[in-house]
């Protein structure tokens, strides 16, 4: 509690004012630019610098002049320290205070001087970096009984050699005296020499990719150290479904990401932090709104209607609100991609499984971590609508086309309103979006405490995250509290609890502000002459979006509480058997209160304000029992896991609303004050899932690994008779590296071949789809409300069953050059059948849709992960991670084997494909005859006559133009460390996807609204971009207007650039900290794409533009 108070106080004192922060950040931004340039230089030079040693300057090369007369040795050394950056270290008894020395002024090397002083006095010295350690030569060389009494004060030189497990020397290994910062590095042949203060000094050997080793010198002057390689990698424990496995024994395709990797990027949630970091996982954030989430797909989309999102498991329990989780609480995240890994989750596994494991307390000293950051978000490009004069020109051209306008003398015929005419003549222009868009902010304050005794261990943490969006009153506050406890009740019996509370306090602006601001006539003044806001600017028909900025007029408040609490009891009756029972409860309650004043965009055209409140509560209960048995018999290892699972979730909602209340001050707190349109509703949805599963693991000589899994799922949402399904899988792996014939080679340090096949399902179906419902239609007789139940246009399907995906996965894990290069390659081919899709029915049936199991899809792809250690020296290291994902997604079958134009689904193409006419330009004056043959005239959009029948028809001339999914994506992350500095640069690319630009579509040929700045056709401007303005043609009636919006959405962005500095331990000791890191970071620092002024990750929307974030923060621990 004491700690909590402290951290809360810390939170308040650390808040920066916006102005200060902005100034600070501007400075940081410059630094970021600089560090980016540095990285580029490093990349371009492309040299993998391999420097092994960084000894201090050679003493014989340092020339100094000192003049001394009868000085003590101490003062002589001080003189040398003054003139050089050398420092002397020695015990008091080494230098006799009575010894005096004298020097003349001539220049000499330090070596000469030292040799002169010490040689005759029995004092030896040794250089470590810039430190020179003095020792008593006579004592050191003496051995035997005589010296026992003074052993503790010995200073001795140790010569050593560090080798790897194969006896090969390891250069560049850091050798440090424990508890100090002084140390040396091994040279090219793995040798080192170090002078230590005592014969039982403990030396710490560390090297990237090798297990850090601590060993006492034990009085030996010559030692040989064998370091164990990559133990962290292979012995690393990876969490899989209902258990853990060593990485070396994995048979499936699983990627594990550790907690520190997740906190590298300042992100609003853990998934966003991992963009581009996990091969095969596509993560995009398409909205810049406060609290906006990301969409995650693993190995492409396979479902047309059912959910394509992966299953999230948090500490063993299904929990979809991953955005609640404080990144700092995460110990690891595992991505289960192939069917053999996911089949254990049965009907929920087809879209991949993401397992999140939170940190736990450990026995020992209490550890406290705290961190904070503050950042400013700004638009990552935004395309502007036309200015007043640009709009006026479009309108004139439109009227010119119909013969009304020929020159500005005709302006009064076009701008019939005197005020408009004056505004046009004066060149009046307002940049409407600029009036609402402003910079946003992100800030985070977190703290955690962990510790424990032999029996009880605990971890608790808190986090406060606030995001301000790009509009006024657009914000999201998130508070997260966590407590994880483990308690050993008896020797074989353990219990524990993981609890997380997340609370959101948000006000979200969602009123289509920019949509309005992009269409309001730009010369309309938002203000009346008296300075008040004009309700309908220019007496036009667009409401004034600035009314929405008033916090009392547009309220859309969300208060959301998510509670996840999981208790377990674990019993180990005998050595190899574990019986565990998990009970997980998730509760969620959400209140959305909304008030829209009479002048807001949504109400300006209606009568009076709208107040509403919606409440929902969701709860789910998961009870799982897991029995694990593991046994090793000679060369055979066997593991059995048996599971039962029961999951029940219910959700109910209620809402009420009304319009026209007298005063806005009552907001949504007095719905009964609304005189009109009172509405109430409530709803209940519930579903249950019952399952049993079994997994067998078998290993022969630890080289040949086999995993067999089967799970049976029964679900309430499916039709009777189809409720149960069985999901089997098998996987095998061969550890080639462990074969005798591999012992002789040095190229590979790891080589494992994996193969798996399995079937997983998709349960992303809403309940009650098997039933045909009736809908309540508002009705009355004689003005008295009467019930009218009509047929639901979505009719029930009594034959609904599971959607099944079978996946083959072949993977290779490799390590090269003693694991300087590691990684994996996976190929997969997944077939999904019985696709659940909302089949569009002909309207002549009276129904519109039904959910049916029709259709098949297929995803094939390759995933490459490559980790390299490019530079590794004592002070400087540079490692890179590269991931590459290529997925080929396509629908392979649809009802009756024909394309579904109604839904836009096409066999052989991805789920979200764009099907339209193919614009090839604009009909030019010279092509008038040709155009006329098609029924068009110069200035109209020209589309390809695909079937060549001389007519443009919907049936024959529409083609697939592209798809919303990328052809490939990649991530390239670099970590550079130099002494206390660390720099992370991450590049993320998504290539080949298409999007529909709302901006490009915003062209009004009759200038009835404002729109995009485009290059439109006129007789004098024979462009092929946009058709001719025409006052008599609305956008809706402009033929082929939809073809104007398609754009190449490929992008490469510098997702993250972070520069951090760890304060040296010596500086921290005085303030009782063990670690303090300060950093600056830039997110979405630069984006490269073919689209101007727009971040294509936003997928075309101009309503919620994406942002750049520049921030500064600090982390500390003690």
């Amino acid at each position: 509690m004491q700690v909590m108070k402290k951290t809360l106080a810390f939170k308040h004192s650390c808040r920066l004012s916006d102005a200060d922060a902005r100034q600070l950040l501007n400075t940081f931004r410059k630094i970021m630019k600089l560090s980016f340039i540095i990285l580029l230089v490093l990349l371009v030079s492309g040299q993998l610098l391999l420097a092994y040693s960084s000894k201090g300057q050679a003493l014989e090369k340092i020339n100094i002049k000192i003049e001394l007369r009868n000085a003590t040795l101490k003062s002589a050394l001080k003189q040398i320290e003054k003139q050089t950056n050398l420092r002397f270290a020695y015990r008091d008894n080494v230098l006799s205070p009575n010894t005096k020395v004298s020097f003349s002024t001539e220049s000499r090397s330090v070596k000469q001087i030292l040799d002169e002083i010490f040689a005759s006095r029995g004092i030896g010295y040794n250089q470590i970096d810039n430190n020179i350690i003095l020792y008593n030569n006579i004592v050191a060389s003496t051995s035997g009984l005589a010296t026992i009494t003074s052993e503790k004060s010995l200073i001795m030189t140790v010569n050593g050699k560090v080798v790897d497990e194969k006896g090969e020397s390891l250069p560049g290994v850091s050798v440090k005296i424990k508890g100090t910062n002084s140390g040396v590095a091994t040279n090219a042949s793995g040798d080192f020499t170090i002078t230590v203060p005592s014969s039982n000094t403990v030396l710490v050997y560390s090297f990237l990719g090798y297990k850090t080793l601590e060993q006492s010198v034990n009085g030996k002057t010559s030692i040989r150290i064998v370091m164990e390689p990559t133990s962290q990698l292979l012995e690393q424990v990876v969490v899989v479904g209902y258990g853990t496995v060593k990485k070396r024994d994995l048979t499936g395709s699983v990627v594990s990401v550790k907690g520190d990797e997740i906190t590298k990027v300042a992100a609003s949630n853990p998934m966003e932090a991992l963009q581009g970091k996990v091969a095969g996982v596509d993560i995009v954030r398409t909205s810049g709104a406060a609290g906006a989430n990301v969409s995650v797909t693993v190995r492409g989309n396979r479902s047309l209607t059912a959910n394509n999102g992966p299953l999230y498991i948090v500490d063993g329990i299904q929990y979809s609100n991953y955005e609640d989780i404080n990144q700092n609480d995460i110990a690891s995240m595992e991505f289960l991609k192939d069917a053999s890994s996911t089949a254990i989750y049965g009907s929920r596994g087809a879209n991949g499984v993401i397992i999140i494991t939170t940190k736990r307390g450990a026995e020992g000293q209490v550890k406290v971590n705290a961190g904070t950051y503050y950042g400013v978000t700004e638009l990552n490009g935004y395309p502007k609508p036309m200015t007043g004069p640009q709009f006026a020109n479009l309108k004139r051209e439109g009227y010119r086309t119909i013969g009304t306008w020929n020159s500005t003398a005709d302006d009064p015929k076009v701008f019939t309103n005197a005020a408009d005419l004056a505004a046009v003549q004066n060149g009046t222009s307002y940049y409407w979006p600029g009036m609402s868009l402003k910079n946003g902010a992100q800030q985070d304050y977190n703290a955690s405490v962990s510790g424990g005794s032999e029996k009880t261990k605990a971890y608790f943490s808190m986090d406060y995250f606030k995001e301000n969006g790009l509009y006024a009153n657009d914000f999201s506050n998130r508070y997260t509290l966590r407590l994880n406890i483990d308690h050993q009740v008896a020797k074989a019996f353990k219990i524990g609890l993981q609890s997380q509370l997340a609370y959101y306090d948000q006000n979200l602006r969602t009123d289509g502000i920019l949509t309005v601001e992009n269409k309001v006539i730009p010369y309309f003044n938002p203000y009346n002459v008296d300075g008040s806001l004009a309700k309908f600017p220019g007496n036009g028909n667009q409401a004034n979006p600035l009314f929405d900025d008033d916090p009392s007029q547009y309220i859309n408040k969300y208060n959301i509480t998510h509670l996840l609490s999981t208790a377990y009891a674990e019993w180990k009756p005998i050595a190899d058997l574990t019986i565990r029972s998990n009970l997980g409860i998730t509760l969620s309650s959400s209140r959305n209160g909304s008030f829209q004043g009479e002048n807001t965009i949504s109400r300006a055209l209606s009568s009076g304000s709208l107040s509403s409140e919606a409440n929902s509560t969701d709860n789910s209960l998961i009870w799982e029992n897991i029995v694990t048995y593991q046994k090793k018999l000679g060369s055979h290892s066997i593991g059995v896991t048996a599971i039962t699972s029961y999951q029940s979730s219910t959700s109910d909602q209620s809402s009420a609303q009304g319009t026209g209340q007298l005063l806005s001050t009552q907001s949504f707190y007095a719905l009964q004050s609304n005189p009109a349109n009172l509405k109430i509703s409530s709803n209940y949805v519930g579903q249950n899932l019952t399952s049993g599963a079994l997994r067998l693991n078998y290993a022969f000589k630890d080289k040949y690994l086999l995993t067999l899994t089967g799970r049976a799922d029964g679900s309430s949402v499916l039709a009777a008779g189809n409720k149960w399904a069985f999901f089997p899988s098998a996987a095998a792996a061969w550890r080639i590296i462990d074969e005798p014939f591999m012992k002789t080679q040095n190229t590979f340090s790891e080589l494992k071949l994996r193969g798996s096949y399995g079937i997983a399902g998709n349960a992303g179906v809403k309940p009650y789809q098997t039933q045909s419902n009736v809908i309540l239609i508002p009705f009355s007789w004689n003005d008295v409300t009467a019930l009218a139940y009509g047929l639901d246009p979505n009719i029930g399907n009594p034959n609904l069953k599971w959607e099944l995906t079978g996946t083959v996965d072949i993977g290779l894990d490799y390590g090269l050059l003693k694991d300087r290069i590691t990684g994996s390659i996976d190929f997969y081919d997944s077939h999904t059948k019985d696709l659940l899709l909302l089949q569009q029915l002909p309207a002549t049936t009276g129904a519109k849709t039904t959910l049916a199991n029709v259709g098949k899809s297929r995803n094939t792809g390759v995933e490459i992960a490559l980790n390299t250690v490019n530079v590794r020296t004592g002070d400087f290291s540079w490692s890179s991670t590269f991931t590459y994902t290529r997925n080929n997604e396509r629908i392979t079958y649809l009802p009756n084997g024909v394309n579904d134009l109604g839904n836009g689904w096409f066999i052989g193409h991805p789920v979200s494909s764009f099907y339209d006419y193919q614009k090839i330009g604009i009909w030019q004056t010279s092509e008038a005859t040709q155009a006329a043959a098609y029924g068009y005239k110069p200035g109209d959009i020209k589309v390809a006559d695909i079937d060549g029948d001389g007519k443009i028809t919907a049936a024959g001339d529409r083609v697939i133009l592209g798809a919303a999914v990328p052809k490939y994506s990649f991530g390239f992350s670099n970590d550079l460390k130099f002494k206390g500095f660390d720099l992370n640069i991450q590049i993320f690319g998504r290539i080949g996807q298409m999007f529909v630009s709302q901006y490009a579509l915003k062209y009004e040929p009759n200038a009835i609204e404002n729109g995009a700045v485009v290059d439109y056709w006129t007789p004098e401007n024979p462009t092929n971009a946009y058709p001719r303005p025409n006052a008599n043609i609305s956008k809706a009636s402009e033929a082929f207007a939809s073809t104007l919006g398609y754009a190449d959405g490929s992008f490469v962005k510098i997702r993250n650039a972070t520069l951090g500095y760890n304060l040296p331990a010596s500086a921290l000791r005085s303030i009782h900290l063990s670690n303090l890191r300060i950093y600056v970071s830039a997110k979405n620092f630069a984006t490269f794409s073919k689209v101007k002024d727009y971040d294509p990750e936003g997928a075309g929307s101009f309503e919620r533009p994406l942002t750049k974030l520049f921030l500064a923060g600090l982390n500390l621990s003690f």
Partner: protein, 557 residues
């Protein structure tokens, strides 16, 4: 070891019990929804089905999509600046565009067939209702049959020989058929005869089908199919035997306080409690995006742009969507001196609702500020006190094509000053689907077709007598010699303009093409004979699997 086995056995048993207990939980609990089988099998539930069957009329009557299809593309209307679908209005392109409620043809197609399926479901399953009396059963079946006929008429006249069925849809049907127009009418007549035989003569629920409602509609059907004797007899029966009377003054028909009057035979009764109407909401996602009666929005010119300092938008003048304007030919059909229907239908004077000055004249609230006469006023005679949009400022004198489409004399009979706010798009105005005046016109047209212009003139003169300005009755009378098909169409335009019948009237009389060519210069260049049926929505073509059978209407590919 024994102990261990025991433990294992216990564990397995416990797991098995837990498992089987959970298995029972796999039945769905669904208290928030009702299914057809639970609701429609009881009398109280079946009543809700019949109610629901009426609601689909609201997608056509009083809706922009309905006006677009039934009034536009005729001789009397053309596009105002605000027309969101001018290429439809002018037959330039009938496909692929959209209105706020959705593509007008798709919206109507989808909802008419949804209505048909509901009627089919009701007619097929009414026998399963256990607690109806025999009389109740036949009444409700008669209502459903009346409605089915009514909806099928809209379908068959709009799209021609498209899909027809009397079987309720079960499961995922993906095919559609092509049925001859005559088969539609066979069913329409069968259903209407059943309705006439089994409906009650009166109802306390305003808007429910009754015998005269079915008869009146049957009269329209007979006339449509050229069964003139039957048409006359049926119309005459309705005129004489059911107590309907013409309102004394034409303008009274449009008084918001007089909606439920004796001239109305059948109406879509929009509730004054707007939540009972059809606006799309979260609780009723399948509604219309604008809801209730939107007729008041469509025909008004932008009076609020004439002079923004003197005349601003207000409830009384209405919310002007500026969608449609009359053709010059339509305006010329009126005998302004004698026919009260001109002023009863149109607004040509707007008065200031803000005080100020105009051309140095002081303008008080209530002073005329805009005048749109059907005349050409010499410039010298034009008032300096208000703005005039005379014919010369609206229509090209040679081509009759509008010069500008913002300021013009406006159809005002649907205006509703009882709306809560100036922006309120929903009006509670009932939409008159069939009113007594139409019966006189049906009778007259049938008689003319039967070669009896004398009787025809008699029936028309009843209408014209009511329409006459005070003291002008004699001038309004016509002689049998004046009665022609074109005269009747002109008379229908004067009497029923905007009431969603025009396109059907022109199609029935075979005059659609010729009158567009003669009277609507905007649409004339584009109209083709194949336009006598509308294109089938692409979504339907896309969704059917028997594409070789169910094809687009000719001319539209």
């Amino acid at each position: 070891m024994k102990k261990l086995i025991k433990r294992w056995a216990l564990l397995l048993i416990a797991m098995a019990i837990a498992f089987s207990a959970c298995n029972k939980k796999l039945d769905e609990y669904n208290p928030s929804n009702l299914t057809a089988s639970t609701v429609y099998t009881k009398a109280v539930g079946f009543e809700t089905l019949v109610n629901a069957a009426y609601t689909y009329t609201r997608f056509w009557y009083g809706k922009e999509e309905g006006y677009q299809i039934s009034e536009m593309g005729t001789d009397i209307w053309t596009s105002g600046t605000g027309d969101v679908y001018p290429s439809f209005t002018q037959y330039n392109n009938l496909q692929g565009s959209s209105l706020p409620g959705g593509d007008p043809l798709s919206l109507e197609w989808n909802n008419f067939y949804a209505a048909i399926n509901l009627c089919n479901t009701g007619i097929a399953t009414i026998g399963d209702v256990t607690d109806y009396t025999a009389a109740q059963k036949t009444t409700r079946e008669a209502e459903l049959r009346y409605l089915r006929a009514f909806y099928y008429w809209h379908i068959v006249e709009t799209w021609g020989d498209v899909h027809f069925t009397t079987t309720p849809t079960a499961g995922a049907i993906t095919e559609a058929n092509r049925t001859p127009v005559s088969a539609f009418y066979d069913q329409i007549f069968t259903d209407l005869k059943f309705a006439v035989a089994n409906l009650p003569a009166t109802t306390s629920d305003y808007g429910r089908a009754t015998i005269p409602v079915a008869k009146a509609f049957l009269a329209r059907m007979y006339l449509t199919r050229g069964m003139n004797a039957e048409a006359f007899a049926m119309a005459d029966d309705v005129i004489k035997n059911y107590g309907y009377v013409l309102q004394p003054k034409y303008v009274d028909l449009w008084n918001m306080g007089n909606l439920k009057n004796k001239e109305v035979i059948w109406a879509v009764d929009y509730s004054t409690n707007l939540t009972n109407n059809d606006l799309t909401t979260t609780t009723y996602p399948y509604g219309h995006s604008r809801g209730s009666n939107n007729g008041h929005l469509m025909y008004l010119m932008v009076y609020d742009q004439v002079n923004t300092s003197l005349l601003i938008r207000d409830i009384n003048n209405g919310r002007p969507f500026n969608r449609y304007m009359p053709t010059l030919a339509y305006l010329n059909m009126f005998d302004q001196a004698n026919d009260s229907r001109f002023n009863g239908s149109f607004q040509s004077v707007w008065t200031a609702n803000k005080a100020g000055t105009f051309n140095s004249n002081t303008i008080k609230v209530g002073d005329t500020i805009c005048y749109t006469p059907v005349a050409t006023i010499p410039v010298a005679s034009q008032s300096k006190k208000y703005v005039t949009y005379d014919l010369a400022k609206v229509y090209d004198p040679v081509t009759a094509i509008p010069i500008q489409r913002k300021f013009y004399i406006s159809l005002s009979k649907f205006k509703d000053s009882t709306r809560a706010s100036v922006a309120e798009a929903q009006s509670a105005r009932d939409v008159f689907v069939i009113r007594l005046a139409e019966m006189y016109l049906i009778a007259a047209e049938a008689k003319l077709n039967l070669g009896d212009p004398t009787t025809a003139a008699t029936y028309i003169n009843v209408i014209r007598t009511r329409a006459a300005k005070p003291g002008r009755t004699a001038q309004m009378q016509i002689t049998p010699a004046q009665v022609t098909l074109d005269f009747i169409l002109d008379e229908r335009a004067r009497e029923l303009g905007g009431e969603q019948l025009r396109w059907f009237d022109l199609k029935r009389t075979g005059k659609l093409g010729s009158r567009i060519q003669a009277l609507n210069p905007d649409a004339a260049p584009y109209f083709k004979p194949y336009h006598l049926v509308r294109p089938i929505p692409q979504s339907q073509i896309d969704a059917v699997t028997n594409k070789d059978v169910f094809k687009q209407n000719p001319g539209y590919n």
